[in-house]
């Protein structure tokens, strides 16, 4: 008989951003149990993680277990002992022939276990194994750990409860509705579970909650914000969107500040007018179905008004002092205990910007770069650092290149984010990031595993992207300096950028980086060439030959430095290959590959590199080495993975 299975882990409110990962983890853990099932579906709200599977067998299939006993030649006593252990008579044993001879054996039938028993046994530890980035005790020290306290559990296989217990909570057939609109205990079956929840103001499916919000947003022109939508989907059990408004006089404040207050602090969508300008409205998503008396709308409007008033207070207070006048205050702001203050950092960044060829605007931007750290607005809205500095610089009348450079200097903040607009912004951003990287590596603050408190990976990735996408031709290694750990760190970032972000094949990236990666623009140009070459018919065979050459040279421990002697060349394929090399030397590989390849093939076909005469052998190795070196400025083609 085929049964449906329902597991609901009822908890207190789980942080929204952890829920999708936890569900995926739960699914994998369940699949590891290897209980056959036809389908599996995962759902969650902030207060429940739910796994539903269809088509579980009532019991596992019966199986056979074969036990091999003593050899046929063994004494009767041993055979009897083996039979007794299996619970049978000696004459019931079979004899089987193996590679080692004839042996007694017995095949035992093992009845399949009930799925319910397997589940009851496995689920407690399975549930506690679900990975969360941070967990807690809730019963007492040494008790179970979970993301938040578990308060109820539903576990049904067909109509039967799968019985188990975690931290004093027993599995059962009672779920729980919306905290205030639903009942606290609701009897359910696997068939009516989702509908019963719905009756108690819980929309189980994240997709349905998402759709409900989307539909309610349809009439309003909101700034699209998929990440905020996901947060709201996983922070509510019964989401409903409502629109509120604020006094249009607040629109005098910078839009960035208003949007940050709405988005980050209040989780509101901001609204645009027909021309794409911020409108004095917002959309909040509440966790109840309606607000007929306007309590929720008015409450949210009041909170927003207070927040905007604060922001205006800070904006006006900060404007009493120019950004430039704040520079010396940076002596009171620590950059990092071992790396001194932001004033010291500013000095270094100004120097570095000049080294990078920055003009007076770039130097000015570097001076102002961190001054916003002393403003009230940044203390209140730390996520706006940089942006706020840019806004104040603009208000202070700084040139456009300067204020934009300050505004953009934390960019790119993710792989999807743009690099700073304009050369000035790119240079100061580079200098700021490089200074952080050099400094942190110098004092041993090197990221390891998931620990990267200064976001150095992101900083290094930003350096790579700005150099490549900003088409800045400064050699990266000159910027990094002599630190080997930092070089290795950057090498990984460069590899990641070209492979995972730009989509070059890993072996092309390896091949091209083997020929150097300091000049990233040059590296990119070479990668494009190799990528284009790869689709030509001669490329892979030639790459295979190059790999062979590399192996031969490695095996012979050829160090180069041997003078090449034309007189030692044998007429035929060897001479031909040499002539071909002479003809093509210095030409782009694209132009010569089709002529070169047959010559190389023929050489390997007919010529024995490992000639008995040591001089001839060394000469051949030198020829091959020269040939390999001819193209090595582009890539080490022996790194290309070929199919032949």
């Amino acid at each position: 008989m085929s049964l449906p299975f329902l597991l609901e882990i009822g908890t207190e409110e789980i942080p929204d951003w952890m829920i999708p990962g936890a569900l995926e983890n739960l699914r994998l853990l369940f699949e590891k149990l290897e209980i056959p099932h036809e389908s599996i579906a995962m759902d969650a709200t902030p207060r429940r993680l739910v796994l539903r599977a269809e088509g579980l067998p009532e019991r596992q299939a019966d199986s056979e277990e074969r036990v091999v006993g003593p050899a046929k030649s063994a004494p009767a006593q041993a055979v009897a002992g083996f039979a007794r252990k299996q619970g049978v008579k000696p004459e019931d044993l079979a004899v089987e022939t193996t590679a080692k001879g004839e042996y007694y054996s017995f095949t035992r039938k093992v009845a399949g276990r009930a799925s319910k028993d397997i589940l009851a046994e496995a689920l407690p530890s399975l549930i506690l194994q679900i990975y969360f980035p941070k967990t807690m005790y809730w019963t007492a020290k040494g008790g179970p750990r979970f993301i938040r306290p578990i308060r109820w559990m539903v576990a049904l296989l067909g109509e039967e409860i799968v019985p188990f217990e975690i931290a004093g909570v027993h599995s059962g057939a009672l779920t729980s509705g919306h905290r205030r609109l639903g009942a606290r205990e609701i009897a359910i079956t696997t068939a009516d579970y989702e509908q019963r929840l719905r009756d108690h103001y819980v929309i189980l499916s994240a997709e349905r909650r998402r759709e409900k919000i989307r539909k309610e947003l349809a009439g309003v022109r909101i700034k699209p914000d998929p990440a905020l939508l996901e947060t709201l989907v996983y922070i509510t059990e019964y989401p409903t969107a409502i629109t509120g408004s604020f006094d249009a006089q607040f629109l005098e404040l910078p839009e960035e500040v208003l949007v940050t207050v709405m988005r980050h602090h209040q989780k509101y969508f901001s609204v645009e007018d027909a021309r794409g300008k911020l409108a004095p409205q917002f959309v909040a998503v509440m966790n109840i179905p309606a607000d007929p008396e306007g309590f929720v709308r008015r409450g949210n409007e009041r909170v927003l008004r207070a927040r905007f008033n604060d922001a205006r207070f800070f904006w006006e207070a900060d404007r009493k002092k120019t950004l430039a006048a704040r520079k010396l205050d940076l002596a009171h702001v620590t950059f990092q205990a071992k790396l001194g203050t932001y004033l010291e950092k500013t000095g270094r960044v100004v120097e570095l910007v000049k080294e990078l060829g920055g003009d007076a605007d770039a130097a000015r931007a570097a001076e102002l770069l961190k001054c916003d750290l002393t403003t009230e607005l940044v203390k209140e809205f730390t996520e706006l650092q940089g942006v706020v500095g840019g806004l104040y610089a603009r208000a202070d009348g700084e040139p456009e290149a300067v204020w934009q450079a300050v505004y953009d200097h934390y960019k790119p903040e993710s792989m999807d984010d743009a690099i700073p607009r304009g050369r000035t912004g790119q240079l100061v951003s580079l200098a700021d990031k490089l200074d952080t990287l050099r400094g942190c590596f110098r004092v041993g603050m090197v990221p390891s595993g998931s620990r990267d408190p200064f976001a150095l990976r992101r900083a290094a990735q930003g350096v790579v992207r700005i150099l490549v996408e900003g088409e800045i031709s400064v050699p990266l290694l000159n910027l990094i300096g002599p630190d080997d750990a930092l070089r290795a760190f950057f090498e990984d970032r460069v590899r990641f950028y070209f492979k995972d972000h730009c989509g070059f094949a890993y072996d092309e990236v390896n091949a091209c980086m083997a020929s150097g990666w300091s000049s990233l623009l040059d590296l990119k140009a070479r990668l494009l060439r190799v990528q284009a070459l790869r689709s030509t018919p001669d490329f892979e065979p030639l790459a295979a030959s190059f790999k062979r050459i590399r192996n031969i040279l490695d095996q012979a421990e050829f160090k180069g430095g041997v003078g090449f002697n034309q007189q030692l060349l044998e007429p035929g394929p060897e001479q031909d290959l040499y002539q071909e090399y002479r003809r093509i030397a210095g030409q782009p590989i694209e132009h010569v590959i089709s002529q070169l390849r047959p010559k190389v093939d023929l050489f390997f076909d007919k010529v024995l590199v490992n000639a008995p005469d040591a001089r001839v052998r060394q000469n051949r190795l030198a020829l091959l080495h020269t040939l390999l070196a001819e193209f090595s400025p582009i890539a080490d083609f022996s790194e290309i993975v070929t199919h032949s």
């Binding site: 942080p15 941070k134 809730w138 019963t139 966790n287 607000d291 309590f295 409450g299 949210n300």
Partner: protein
């Protein structure tokens, strides 16, 4: 309309009915209700405890001379400690909001992740900020560690922001317009505190004197801690509570010096470490002292 003090009466009654001791505010300056011995020390050790109290909480740097409608040097927290936390703690908490007349079927309540951490106390917990119609009204924390010690029982800590709650219930845009009781506004009662402490904390405090006071309290606390002997037969007599008072004094003096702009970057980390050292030292000695008493 419920006055500010009505709200306090309601909450105290509500938690008293659920077995809480009602304490009065602690009589040494603190930055938060968590720092009172009733929380900081009582959460340690194996003894169940339930307490609620209003704690005026001083944050020198947050003072605004009484000009800003939402920011205060001294705000009032209603602090509840339920140790161990009951299984229905959230239901009980929601009940307290309903006791104040908030119909939660018509308001939007959300629990947003917010893990509390106080490095100077070696303390942290897991929890939420509770949002009511978009307003943060309560910090809800399951204490996990205090003074660097894993807690035997897991206490729930509820910290209500009373001014916010009152402004919400009375529909006021400025805390100064809150009605404290009939005929008296919040401004009537507290405006002078805000103005005068802002002047003191930002302008008038004598920096060398504050440093001297800091060092005196630190020295006294350190002297006492050194004398604590875990093996002493009569260690339960040992004055750890007075020692902790000196740690609190240091903490408040540090905050005042900080708002006065008197602590340089290089000093800052070091001074925090000094306060932490005393606070954690007291917590550890206290945990040890409790163990002995339990036997």
């Amino acid at each position: 309309m419920q006055s500010f003090q009505d709200i306090i009466f309601t909450l105290k009654r509500y938690w008293a009915d659920r077995g809480c001791i009602i304490q009065e505010p602690y009589d040494v300056e603190v930055g938060a209700g968590t720092m009172c011995p009733e929380t900081f020390l009582r959460v340690l050790g194996p003894h169940p405890y339930r307490v609620a109290y209003v704690q005026p909480s001083r944050r020198p740097a947050d003072g605004r001379y009484g000009d800003n409608p939402n920011r205060l040097f001294k705000h009032s927290q209603l602090q509840v400690i339920l140790k161990p936390s009951p299984d229905d703690v959230i239901e009980q908490y929601l009940g307290s909001l309903e006791a104040m007349g908030i119909d939660l079927r018509k308001h939007d309540i959300k629990f947003e992740e917010d893990n509390w951490e106080a490095p100077t106390l070696g303390a942290w917990g897991i929890g939420w900020q509770v949002m009511l119609d978009g307003l943060e009204i309560t910090q809800f924390t399951y204490f996990q560690q205090c003074g660097g010690i894993d807690l035997d029982l897991v206490p729930a800590e509820l910290t209500y922001g009373l001014e916010r709650l009152a402004a919400f219930l009375q529909v006021k845009d400025s805390v100064y317009d809150i009605e404290w009781t009939k005929g008296f506004s919040y401004a009537d009662v507290r405006y002078r505190d805000e103005l005068q402490y802002s002047v003191y904390n930002f302008e008038a405090a004598d920096i060398p004197t504050l440093w001297k006071l800091f060092e005196l309290h630190e020295r006294e606390a350190a002297r006492l801690l050194k004398l604590y002997d875990p093996k002493a037969a009569d260690k339960k007599r040992f004055p750890l509570l007075p020692t902790y008072d000196h740690a609190l004094k240091c903490s408040n003096l540090f905050n005042t010096l900080d708002s006065r702009g008197a602590i340089s970057v290089t000093e800052r980390v070091g001074v925090i470490q000094r306060v932490r050292k005393i606070a954690v030292g007291v917590a550890q000695a206290w945990a040890d002292q409790q163990q002995e008493v339990a036997q």
